[in-house]
Amino acid sequence: MADQPRRVGLFVTCLVDLIRPSIGFAAAKLLADAGCTVEVPRQACCGQPAFNSGDRATARAIAEQVIDAFASYDYVVAPSGSCAGMLKAHYPELFHGDPNWLPRADAFAAKTFELTSFLVDVLGVTRVDADLEATATYHDACSGLRELSVRVQPRRLLGTVRGLTLEEMRDSDVCCGFGGTFCVKYPDISNAIVEKKAANAAATGAGLLLAGDLGCLMNMAGKLQRDGKAIEVRHVAEVLAGMTSEPAIGAPAHPQTEPRR
């Protein structure tokens, strides 16, 4: 590791910002523990909903603004494979053939990482300081897996959480059916897909379902809860940072006793 602290701009993602800030604080703690200086410039969304809806002009306007906002940082880190994939894999596509912006987008992409990939691949983190008595199963969210090769990094770090056992589910690398706006544009199909995912997660007997993307987590948690399945759902950063005192996703604010396994 380098001697001087790395300045990391945390791209918290709009879902984390709005729905579950505790993931942002967990990410910030993991980065700080690894010796980074963490800052949060003013931000909204990465623009993926526009990009995937065919509205390239809006996606590009948002991308310009994000690249500007994070220009001064050594790295940009997001607790999401999907948003990091947008920043890293797709921003340069938006500026294809633009001699002014393409180099900036390329440089921005080069310094941008998904959280667990940044910790393991860039910072060389080999272990975390966290305890959790639980059996967990891990869902590989699609963009992180296929656009950024995030697969072993979260598992390697989870393997160092004291008390935690990882139980792999069948088809952990198959989509959960979220797909951004897909889940509301084609709700019946999305539901059929998440039904399979929920069944595979439940079949492991694990009490905890983890993933690195809040969109997928909300989808899976929402399905499991609607079906009355008692599996807690959390972002992997919460477990790695040892910050699991907040109720799990979609769980009541003040549980009588925290169900621990």
């Binding site: 948002i62 897909f182 509301v184 059929a192 609607r226 604010a253």
Partner: protein
């Protein structure tokens, strides 16, 4: 006369498919068998990814020089005594086929599997013109009996359970004893073989598709597992090959490379059972073979894809791996897509062929999970091209008004982080106030698509950015 596209009713089709229990049972075969078999043979071949690169490069090279290879191919076919017919449209292709059938006074035509045959709806057309087409591929034979089109490009009847096929055979094959035993799947195959044997011998013309057209030799190639293709093309007076411009490959050496990725990606076989090469009609010293050999090369919109954002789609070798690995295809099957080509490859190709105004749902009904691209043997960037179709729809104002206005509303905030911060700060606190007790909502206004099937988690309270800045201020 082409198949009427029900693609504009994709949502209704999908809903019906999800409620169809027999279909859902039948579809498990795709999800379970095809994927595991492919994985197994691919894992046994360390150079598989390098072969995919080579396969992609062969196709790219061919597309870059397509005019030259088509000319070279035609010259070779002609030299071998065959005839090439270029067909700009589906109607042109149908007329060529009918012309040959009429000239030979054909009553019946046997058919090997051909997706181009489906694309130009040749069966309906021939029947309407008093020529009886008989599908000889088992899956195609079954869907023909049922008056359906294939639901999968390599497994036409994959949407049916064995019980449904048995019922169909009992309905149609009334000349056979009613009490015959059809429990074992092989008995169905044997029965179809018996019925088809006479048809092979009686047919005047045989139509097959083509997996490849080889420029170097003027050869057309089919890969099959049942051997029906060979009987279809060698026994009748004339063999008609239905192909399209992107089937072109420069050399037999190139074919060898493509064959190494084709069957592995498709059925999880190292090779298909039969790989049949046809070059021209029967020669004087050949023991058998057709007296005439015709190749119909269909364009039907493809040449307009060359040089466009969709050119890479013309690399497709029709293995079906993309649909075999697609969670949406697994959920709704092929017929829901509403036209000839289903799954991710159909989601890109169909709008090119029948128009994005009709097929607009197809490139939208994807989660962009990327599994199709991950398994594609010629590395077609399918999600990227689906997104390119969405861009065309957006530009042409074909996207639904609700989507456009929702997007514009969202974008107004997403482009102005300060405004976004202020608005969401209030909204999330309010939502959290209502939802935190239970932790989630089982109904939310404007979000019924979500809450019909899933709960929606309550926000924790103030947004991350509000909390972060508050903490910063208090620590300063």
């Amino acid at each position: 006369m082409t198949h009427v596209a029900t693609s504009p009713r994709f949502k209704e089709n999908a809903k019906a498919a999800l409620a169809d229990r027999e279909l859902q049972n039948a579809l498990k075969f795709v999800e379970v068998n095809f994927i595991a078999r492919r994985r197994e043979v691919v894992d046994r071949l360390p150079e598989f990814d390098a072969l995919r690169d080579a396969a992609r490069d062969i196709k790219n090279h061919t597309l870059a020089h397509l005019d030259l290879y088509l000319e070279a191919y035609e010259a070779r076919v002609t030299a071998a005594g065959g005839q090439v017919h270029y067909a700009a449209t589906a109607e042109d292709a149908r007329q060529v086929v009918l012309g040959i059938c009429r000239r030979l006074g054909a009553k019946t035509v046997t058919k090997g599997k051909s997706m181009i045959g489906e694309e130009i709806a040749i069966n309906d057309f021939l029947e309407a013109n008093s020529v009886q087409p008989i599908e000889t591929d088992l899956g195609e034979y079954i869907v023909q009996l049922r008056g359906e089109i294939p639901s999968h490009i390599i497994a036409p009847a994959v949407h049916l359970t064995k019980a449904q096929v048995e019922a169909e055979f009992r309905r149609v094959h009334t000349h056979l004893p009613a009490d015959r035993n059809l429990v074992e799947p092989t008995t169905l195959l044997t029965e179809a073989r018996g019925v088809l044997r006479e048809k092979f011998l009686a047919a005047d013309v045989g139509i097959t598709g083509a997996n490849f057209l080889v420029a170097e030799t003027g050869t057309s190639i089919i890969v099959t597992n049942e051997g029906n293709g060979d009987l279809t093309q060698t026994l009748p007076k004339a063999h008609i090959v239905l192909a399209s411009i992107e089937k072109m490959v420069p050399t037999l050496e190139d074919v060898a490379t493509l064959l190494r990725v084709l069957a592995r990606s498709a059925t999880g076989q190292d090779m298909s059972v039969y790989t049949t090469l046809s070059t021209g009609p029967r020669r004087a010293d050949d023991p058998d073979g057709p007296g005439e050999y015709h190749v119909v090369i269909l364009d039907n919109g493809r040449s307009a894809m060359v040089g466009s954002a969709f050119q890479d789609m013309l690399r497709c070798i029709r293995c079906g791996a993309c649909m075999n690995h697609c969670p949406v295809y697994h959920a709704v099957g092929g017929h829901a897509y509403g036209w000839v080509y289903p799954g991710p490859m159909g989601a890109v190709l169909t709008p090119s062929l029948i128009g994005v105004d009709k097929a607009g749902h197809l490139p939208n009904a994807s989660t962009f999970c990327g599994r199709c691209e991950e398994v594609c043997p010629v590395r077609i960037p399918l999600p990227r091209m689906m997104r390119a179709w969405r861009e065309r729809e957006f530009e042409r104002h074909l996207s639904p008004a609700t989507v456009r206005s929702g997007l514009a509303f969202w974008a107004a905030f997403a482009r102005r982080p300060r405004l976004y911060g202020a608005a969401t700060g209030i909204a999330m606190r309010l939502l959290a106030l209502i939802g935190r007790g239970k932790g989630r909502f089982s109904w939310l206004p404007l979000a019924s698509g979500w809450t019909r099937f899933r709960d929606f988690p309550s926000p924790q309270g103030a947004t991350f950015q509000q909390q972060w800045r508050a903490r910063r201020r208090s620590s300063e």
